[in-house]
Amino acid sequence: MTTYLAILIGCLYAAGIYMILRRSLFKVILGLVLLAHGANLLIFTAGGLKRDAQPPIIAPGQFAPTATLADPLPQALILTAIVIGFGVLAFALVLFHRAYQTFGSDDSDDLRE
């Protein structure tokens, strides 16, 4: 599973960076989205994947977990990162749209002074 995810993350990064290097501003945005997803998935994978893991809840009457537990922290980090990424990308989208309206082109070469 980790191997597949690692390959997927690699693909997301490669596609993201390729898109960012394109001249079209819209593709730059898509590239940023892919890069953010890649990073989130990377946290998820690097945090440790476990099969058959239980949620980290300790049964009543016990003081230590009995089963293998899934680490909830990477998911908390990803959730934070998704929320932040959503806000930032929404702003970037509006900014790039405004630039498109102002310059009448979404080719970054046309942005030159």
Partner: protein
Amino acid sequence: MNLLLVLPLIIPLTVAAISLAAWNRLRLQQYLAVGGTAALLIAALALVASLWHGDRIIVMQVGSWPAPYGITLVADLLSGIMVVLTGLMGLAVTIYSLSSMDRPRASFGYYPLLNLLLMGVCGAFLTGDIFNLYVWFEVMLMSSFVLLALGGEPAQLRGAIKYVTLNLISSAFFLAAVGILYGVAGTLNMADLAEKFNDEPAHAGLVTTLGMLFLIAFGIKAALFPLFFWLPASYHTPPVAISAIFAGLLTKVGVYALIRVFTLLFVFEQGFTHHLLLILAGLTMVTGVLGAAAQNEFRRILSFHIVSQIGYMVMGLAIFGLTTSPALKVLALAGSIFYIIHHIVVKTNLFLLSGVAERLGGSFDLKRLGGLYKNYPGVSLLFLIPALSLAGVPPLSGFFAKLALVQAALATQHYAIVAIALVVGLLTMFSMTKIWAEAFWKAAPADGAPAEGAPVKKGPQAAPLIQSAPSVRRLLVPIGALAAITIMIGLAAEPIFELTVRAAEQLVNREQYIRAVKGTAP
């Protein structure tokens, strides 16, 4: 005690929240912004005083979760100094904005955004958790994105697109590094990480690679060579007050983060990491100053000089890692911290002055400016103080900052970086004299159309824009205050140097930080 630690976050947040609620009442927002930044400065000074007298590190476990589990706020002297500078620049720029910010921008959320920016910057300085650092970076970036694009002029949009894209890439790298770091170490608390990385950590190669990822992420924010291109492309586009606060604070947050991780976390393979930092520092200095030499626009020259100056700050950090003597480690870091103090004050001031020159001369273009000295000798002298300080002329602040760094480099026998530092200082002088000669010294240009909005000149020798002089007077208040501080740092170099030495000692003495956060001996 702990209140001092959260005040720098609460004050700007409160001001921003009330300002947002009072959206239509600009006057109230202005009062709040001035009062809030002044309160921030006072709270920060109290924090440093408390740190100084106790010679300790103030820690707060947010929500009372013990150290490695919850989020920790930590203030050592370096954080304290940075928060003081944030408050000072916030106050200076707010006062400057009162009479320089145009009404559409001011009434469209400028003051709340400025305060949110200050909150993000303070948060980055005060956090002891590396994921929390990412969150504060994003708070700061988000405000800076909007501030940069506020107004939506074509030049601003051009600059903002580059700035936003590059900074988002940097954030993605930062996030990825944090994720892998958690996978490797199982913790994100910086003190806990420092303890785990104390000697050779388990996956030393992987951890050093992570260090490089952080170097890229923070290097983009700090505008290190070769990651600085967004800075000169964007900093000259927004209104002067905004570029001044960016120039003073934002890249320094990146430098602060570099200092934090490369003194606390990634210190077990310094022969590689800090040597790389030294090479980058030298290249940053040279490319920055050469870039400045090619420019003819007031704020672009200053932007390239930010890049070059970042090199000096990183140089101290690099030398810290390349020597084994604790005294030299302290000297090198103290030099870096002194340089940051000096740089923030001087650079913000120079940007503010570029705005005054633009008001008086009608342009940022050095070719169109001229005759300022003849007509406004006072303003010109005010320019000379930060300009000469930037170049490192004694007895101004820049001289002592460079002196400490050069001493540390000489003592550790890194002669190449000494040569680079001194030559770059000379070239900085060249740039500053270029601005002086073009904007202040030479006669006002007779030919060429005057810039838009500037009154028509009567002749080559006619005093330009005398009538607009009073409007500049209020802009000169923060500039004069910052110039006075520059002189004061120069004259009172010894006590301030002592402060930076104490801050550097805390950084070198990692056990103190770990013990303060975790409450136990490592």
